[in-house]
Symmetry: C2
Subunit: 102 residues, 2 copies
DNA sequence: TTATTATATTATTCTTTTGTAATATGTCAA
DNA sequence: TTGACATATTACAAAAGAATAATATAATAA
């Protein structure tokens, strides 16, 4: 139950930033979106089918997650390809799955 | 950037539960509280000093985190000792620190 | 029993988030 | 250029969360 190796000072400095990221993941469908993006880039309409969301809300979620630094996007023709913003995000999703889904 | 080993079906089933946990961690001071509790049990007043919170708000946060299954508590005399609810919570805090604070 | 310390609850106001609908923009094909 | 498709933005009502103050309960010591 103990974790002596966790450094509070380190966490403290990052608390604002990290809690912001976690807030973005604190919605079931945003968590789902990032779960899919952790597997590779997807267009908005692909995500819409995968997550069963209204177009408008999905777009709002993606915009918010982009601002928060969780996802990145790149337009190709008329499609926007969204993906996990960086390695840390993929690692976080991986850790969550390892801890809670195994 | 990819994580082919992440299973979406597994995450999907747990999305509601896990996003709820993450929501509890999505506040800087709640994250801080759990950071401290991951190191061992603490009384409310110890946490109050460590996290610089008003007594009332701390108590409300703790109550909420208890409902959410993040923390457990045990009364000893006039003190309530709070601790991380289980191993998964400690692991999650450890993973967050490893990914974002190193 | 009373005073004191430790913690919890309630009430209230303010802010943020959610869900939804409507509308706008951007890109391509015909 | 027009139409169709893909995505983004805006607006707004309803719900949830945050901060704060005031009050209540629970345990102990004197």
């Amino acid at each position: 139950m103990l974790a002596k190796n966790i450094s509070i000072p380190k966490i403290a400095r990052k608390c604002e930033e990290v809690s912001g990221l976690l807030r973005s993941l604190s919605h079931p469908q945003r968590l789902m979106i990032l779960g899919h993006l952790a597997q590779g880039p997807k267009t908005v309409s692909e995500l819409q089918k995968l997550c069963d969301l209204q177009q408008s809300q999905l777009s709002q979620f993606l915009g918010r997650m982009k601002l928060e630094g969780l996802v990145a996007c790149e337009r190709k023709g008329r499609f926007q390809f969204y993906s996990a913003a960086d390695k840390r995000i993929v690692e976080l999703i991986g850790a969550i799955q390892k801890i809670f889904c195994e």
